[in-house]
Symmetry: C2
Subunit: 217 residues, 2 copies
Amino acid sequence: MAEEVKVFGLWGSPFSRRVDIALKLKGIDSEYHEEDLSNKSSLLIKYNPIHKKVPVLVHHDKPLAESQVILEYIDETWENYPILPKDPYERAKARFGARFIDDKCFPAIWKAYWSKDEREKAVEELIELLKFLENELNDNFFGGETVGLVDIVGSLIAHWLPALQEVAGVEILTEEKFPKLCRWTHEFVNHSVVKEVLPSREKLIALFRALLESTSS
Amino acid sequence: MAEEVKVFGLWGSPFSRRVDIALKLKGIDSEYHEEDLSNKSSLLIKYNPIHKKVPVLVHHDKPLAESQVILEYIDETWENYPILPKDPYERAKARFGARFIDDKCFPAIWKAYWSKDEREKAVEELIELLKFLENELNDNFFGGETVGLVDIVGSLIAHWLPALQEVAGVEILTEEKFPKLCRWTHEFVNHSVVKEVLPSREKLIALFRALLESTSS
């Protein structure tokens, strides 16, 4: 493989799948290593000694961790199909949106669906956060006419959140409240490249059912 | 002012000061607005409705929040005195380091000095985190021969941490344990541009004393 790109990931992790979406959009082949979190590979620990987490990208033997750092690296290394906009202000807004999803939405989703004590408050908070995203969406994608950084990071909301909703029976992202986000969700998960990378909804639902059973027992 | 750059900040916030350091390194004049966190200005809330936090940079009436997003914007907008390296892998490593300081070191410092229950564990964790930074430092600065992204974000460790240590009487960053980090701390806070921007150690110590008294009463 000329490019020597390896990815260490987990099929059910939204953070892992981001890297695969970006590589696929750029048309870069990679060698994929599925990790077992209960028995992490020595390579994962070697390549990401700090966080010991997926995803890790290894390019020409040089490892990188942290999904958003990897996405920017991919965009700077392979210039076809830009993931970030060209204009500095638009780039900054995309970075702000991507951080907003990880720093604000992800913890709120986690608490809204998995916590015992803070669920109600987290649901309210998540609704407020999704309103911000709803207002930011002016095209097919957050990236405009093409899938960009915020869309890729947002697969958490487009694909993982609806599966969680179905398993838990708590609907937050609905057509009535968030028509633009729901349309985007549909566009994104059916995008010709994205849909090849995302795990099937059925597999995710089975994963969440198993997780929910193991945490509620 | 030709560039119309405004900064909304707090003198004692390491996040705010980052923006001022970057602008000063680039030689960009700005109009500074000191915020009062107990009575936030309507402009701050208008410009950063999501987080309602400092720092906010406003360039030609377009606002940006989140200090690391602002630093990248500054580096892309004014190209003299680069803050990030040119090489994509080195850029990614700098971004990883900057995120590491905010996502891992900042919460550990907070807990090590302000929490009641988790202090001991946080001190141990912080020592491990600082070891990583100690090993990453191979030149005068994390940015090599010049101050770069990790140094600017790291002012939290170079300037705020030593003042906190003095007030709390808990020494973590010591010459014996971290000789390279301590040398860097000295180089950084005495850098001709940086020292003009950082608040004096005496002012920080007085701030921490007041904070410590108000939280322990």
